[in-house]
Subunit: 448 residues, 2 copies
């Protein structure tokens, strides 16, 4: 074997350090093993996992690498000069943040699936990667296996993107699907999701929208080149969505979904942003309405490209590992050619208050079931300049219901949220209104 051919072999090997070996890490190792010949034939590169940092060395693992590859010293993996690329699949903010920064500072590209880290410290990490002239890639952090971040960063770099709306949390979409298709109420559907392993014992991060909020913060950053963190995202979850709400929505041709939305409002001076998570009634003809079970989908609206949607598995070991491997190949190819994918600058941009957002709403009230009540309610809407699109009244009876009570469900035409909130306050002050129930936004046809 000549020195020449040796050097060719040496150049084509890319050594990888993996931080964390949970579900995603183990799936990644298995996928790398299975696909290494394909990667080699398509890129000329051999991806080799040299070191894997884990918390507990004594834990038994069913992965296809030698035991000597494992270490419990994560920093030694990051600082090992023989390692070319770092894959961070340990999760959490620290020590992940410190390790990623150390890797970037050492000139190593980083692939991460860590949404919490990026949503909190994205612009710091992006700036560190830019300063070091290396890649930070994070496809798996937003919608699991769906290739969405790369198309957004690259294919749509020059597209005037106006809005991104996503079903970015599989747990809540599973719960809402079961409520809709099996007639389950919220707590039954949640229990089912927990039994299937889709929801945690403490489901707060999913059902209150925090998981989706972290993802939409990352999306808003990339789509609009803005500094956006989880803390900037207005967040409402699905725990108050009732079987009655689902049933009303179905009767009127809607599905209820938890949407994460990032939107840019073009203004003569500086543009404004909105980043928010809330449940929404979506017309059945809209492609997002057909996203069932634990699937995710991201809907993008651009002035030139029109409507796009990216659909797939938002979680799970294999789909997430697929996204990590896609990034890893990209980082390895870039490293060989000396290139890296620049993220550009992230600038602070003012947020538009939810009060100033225009939306249609579905509202539900419990009222006295007697003549004149409907007229007084309609009067309150009129006084606030809020226009009613459709209204339904049902007399209620039964052991849990006070006598002479009715439920009024209505959909209002688009109005400023401030005016809708003021209307609700005034309605609450009416003697005939016993309680204010659901208040859920409605995606109208003009938004499609």
């Amino acid at each position: 074997m000549s020195a020449g051919s040796l050097s060719v072999v040496a150049e084509s090997v890319v050594r990888i350090g993996v931080l964390g070996c949970g579900t995603v890490g183990a799936s990644l190792l298995a996928l790398l093993e299975r696909q290494s010949a394909t990667v080699n034939s398509r890129t000329g590169l051999s991806l080799v996992v040299s070191r894997i940092a884990v918390r507990d060395l004594s834990q038994k693992r069913s992965v296809v690498v030698g035991a000597d590859v494992f270490t419990d010293d994560a920093l030694s993996v990051v600082s090992d000069p023989s390692i070319d690329i770092i894959v961070e699949v340990m999760g959490g903010i620290e020590p992940a943040r410190g390790l990623v920064l150390a890797a970037l500072a050492a000139g190593k590209p980083v692939v991460t699936a860590n949404k919490a880290l990026l949503a909190a410290h994205g612009s710091e990490l992006f700036a560190a990667a830019e300063a070091a002239g290396v890649d930070i890639l994070f496809e798996a952090s937003v919608a699991g296996g769906i290739p969405f971040i790369r198309p957004l960063r690259e294919s749509l770099l020059a597209e005037p993107v106006v809005r991104v709306m996503g079903i970015m949390n599989g747990t809540t979409n599973y719960i809402l699907t079961r409520m809709s298709e099996a007639g389950a109420d919220y707590s039954e559907a949640l229990a089912e999701a927990q039994a299937l392993g889709y929801a945690e014992a403490d489901p707060t991060a999913d059902v209150e929208g925090h998981d989706a909020a972290a993802k939409i913060a990352i999306v808003a950053s990339i789509a609009f080149g803005a500094k956006v963190t989880s803390a900037d995202v207005q967040c409402e979850g699905i725990s108050s969505v009732s079987a009655d709400d689902i049933s009303f929505a179905q009767r009127h041709g809607y599905a209820i979904k938890l949407l994460a939305i990032a939107e840019r409002f073009s203004l003569p001076g500086s543009d404004e942003l909105s980043a928010r998570v809330h449940p929404c009634l979506i017309p059945n003809a809209h492609p997002l309405a057909a996203v069932r079970e634990s699937f995710n989908a991201v809907f993008v609206q651009g002035d030139a490209v029109g409507d796009l949607m990216f659909y797939g598995r938002g979680a799970g070991g294999d789909p997430t590992a697929s996204a990590v491997l896609g990034d890893l190949v990209d980082a390895a190819v870039n490293l060989q050619s000396g290139a890296h994918a620049s993220l550009g600058a992230f600038v602070p941009m003012p947020f538009r208050s939810n009060d100033e957002l225009d939306a249609a709403w579905y509202l539900s009230l419990r009222v006295d079931d007697r003549p004149g009540v409907l007229a007084s309610i309609a009067g309150v809407f009129g006084a606030h300049g809020v226009s009613i699109d459709s209204m339904e009244q049902h007399s209620l009876s039964g052991p849990e219901t006070a006598a002479d009570e009715a439920r009024i469900d209505l959909i209002i035409h688009p109005a400023l949220e401030r005016d809708v909130r003021a209307t609700l306050v005034s309605l609450g002050e009416l003697e005939s209104v016993r309680s204010l129930g659901s208040t859920i936004r409605v995606l109208i046809d003009a938004d499609i």
Copy 2:
């Protein structure tokens, strides 16, 4: 101004030659004008259109470049040493092929939207780009504005992709949507599509599936690293889909769509491919069933990532220009960094004959309406080992129908196409069978 800053400015300008200035070319020029500041702030590059080759210099054009930019000598654009990148949006095979090859030979990256050219001569062009070490990018050639080719080439490079199924022709999807939602028959829906400009006066290329066949040939090449041309694609169109077929499908929970399918069968020795276009009954719960009007969608099944779908506008000036601009920015960034996106090798791969494909089918027959006929028909299926899933019989009457005639519609369980064809031949030989009607494949739940 110092020589240093001059050289910085000079380096950041990328000069573009555009071949063709029809709908897509004009949309591209307008989009470039609008988005040049965004491109500059995100990449540091100024994209400048230096020359535009058109057939007829005297034609008036509402584009935002000086008249001196136009020429009717396309080869002079390709060979102009001051031009860095060529955008080919003229369409057709020649002279586009010769011009693209000349550009690549001169070391210029090429962005093209030309599906006919790529479907016929893709591997020649890819090899020429590889030999020259420059990019050939063609996002707009397959699904208009949908970023699909880049995710497939890059994000999914290492994914074990098993099958790609797409609604890749907007005209036929519009026709099928109108037949389904407005109860139109085929000729009415086609006339409506023609009136709206969705279908050509001669609609053959769309309705007989040739347009989709060119696109799936390109997709199969990229997904499987195989040499596939339009001529390799088995192709059936929608012109024989009837209102009765649509109505049967709807009653049984299906939508009828024209699918373009590329599939890989893993075998111990060499893998086999199938590339085909045909109408298909799709269960309503499948995301492809919800793709309405003239929208396109591409559904990808991978062993690791699971199911993915990419949805959007498959045609039109602005969406197509969006995809061309995305490629153009990519080519410009790569050119600056000296990198290019390698396509890898394209190898010949054997095709599996349709006869050997397993599929469920919907079949429709006209038969004598008398006792014993159903039994004799069921007997023919049994004799060929083809199992019936469900069957419906309707007595027919009316001026266009012979007396004592019935229509039998059935869905059969998955069977080899060879056996289904043999069954149809035997059915045709039965005295009681007056005519064989529709034969349309059915996507079954196991495929989802």
